[in-house]
């Protein structure tokens, strides 16, 4: 179900698939609800600020690429072109370009996570979170309350009463 909803949201369904999917949406409120939640997640992700790579990091990555290129034997190096744009195009061999890109993606992801602000959840999610918290608090309170009761019962049955019996037996009190 998740895959179809994602495909629908991304506009990847073909005409007939899309029609069938929309029929399902109309027929079953659960599908509509799942779609609403998936849309919520997607919109929430889109709402995040796009992280930017700090200039110093960009500079360092590019510098590394230049140094790697300079270390290559002269015979392997391309002839110096006349225009800087061409030089850049030829220097950026696929492997180096991939390495630089990967580094940028890693840095951007890290920076993006650091800068990511806390989001305000959807009212339905916020209400559900409140219900979850209430349920856990309720269970926790039961555990605490009944913990005392269980402890008291255990002590009474397994410690206090046997001790009384033992003492009465020793002193032969006829009270029991």
């Amino acid at each position: 179900m998740d895959e179809q909803i994602e495909a629908y949201l991304d506009g990847l369904l073909t005409g007939p698939e899309r029609t069938a999917f929309e029929r399902r949406l109309a027929a079953d409120p659960r599908w509509a609800e799942e779609l609403r939640l998936a849309r919520l997640v997607r919109d929430g992700l889109r709402g995040w600020p796009r992280p930017s790579c700090p200039p110093a990091v960009t500079q360092a990555v590019l510098e590394q690429v230049r140094r790697a290129e300079a270390r290559r034997p002269a015979a392997d190096r391309p002839a110096r072109p006349r225009r800087p744009a061409r030089l850049w195009a030829r220097v950026m061999r696929p492997s180096l370009a991939m390495a630089a890109l990967a580094a940028l993606v890693v840095v951007a992801t890290v920076v993006g996570r650091v800068q990511q602000p806390p989001r305000t959840p959807d009212p339905q999610v916020a209400a559900a979170l409140e219900e979850v918290q209430w349920t856990l608090a309720y269970l926790s309170r039961l555990g605490r309350g009944t913990g005392h009761t269980v402890r008291d019962e255990v002590l009474e049955d397994h410690v206090v009463l046997p001790m009384q019996d033992a003492l009465q037996a020793i002193f032969k009190e006829p009270s029991r």
Partner: protein, 190 residues
């Protein structure tokens, strides 16, 4: 004739394709050893619940994500759960309380007959609590059920948590939240 045959073949096919995926997801949860059908509680009491909490599937995942930033412990706990179901019933009279107790007895016996273990039974000054857990083959807890009949607060509550549960963790995290009245939850119930 051909057209009739096509229709005869297509209609069930389309019907199946329309309803099968959500039904499968629902069936998967219902087949889970920790799941209890809350309708049994409502049917046993013969009236609908005044409080309903149903958090499962995508909503449960969203709640876990929403709490990730402020409460990573809660998010971690929720990610291991599959569903949280709560039903609350007001107890308007002593007869309501007796009916709720009889229902808890009946369902408790039924649970025990289906592999659930009673881990706590408390009868204490107007409050009765029965807690059951069901374990998987690897001894991990697959589900938890709690019946509460509280004549002090005039309420009866049924809770079923499906998923990998650590009671100690629930207690520790639950202590950090304030427990309001059942009415507060009822207002938000969906």
């Amino acid at each position: 004739m051909k057209r009739t045959l096509w229709v005869a073949l297509l209609v069930p096919g389309v019907a199946l394709s329309l309803f099968a995926p959500p039904a499968r997801a629902q069936e998967a949860l219902e087949q889970d050893p920790g799941y209890v059908d809350v309708r049994l509680v409502e049917e046993g009491l013969g009236r609908p619940a005044s409080i309903e909490v149903n958090i499962r599937g995508a909503l449960l995942r969203l709640v876990a994500s929403a709490s990730e930033h402020e409460d990573p412990d809660l998010a971690r706990l929720l990610r291991r759960l599959k569903a949280i179901q709560v039903r609350g019933f007001p107890l308007a009279s002593a007869e309501d309380a007796r009916a709720a107790e009889r229902n808890a007895d009946r369902l408790g016996r039924r649970l025990e007959g289906h592999g659930w273990d009673a881990v706590m039974r408390v009868r204490d000054a107007g409050e009765r609590v029965d807690m059951y857990v069901r374990t998987r083959d690897d001894d991990a807890i697959a589900g938890l059920v709690v019946f509460v009949v509280d004549t002090n607060d005039d309420e009866s509550v049924f809770i079923n948590i499906v998923g990998e549960i650590d009671p100690e963790e629930i207690g520790r995290i639950g202590r950090t939240f304030n427990i309001g009245s059942l009415d507060g939850v009822a207002d938000d119930a969906h």
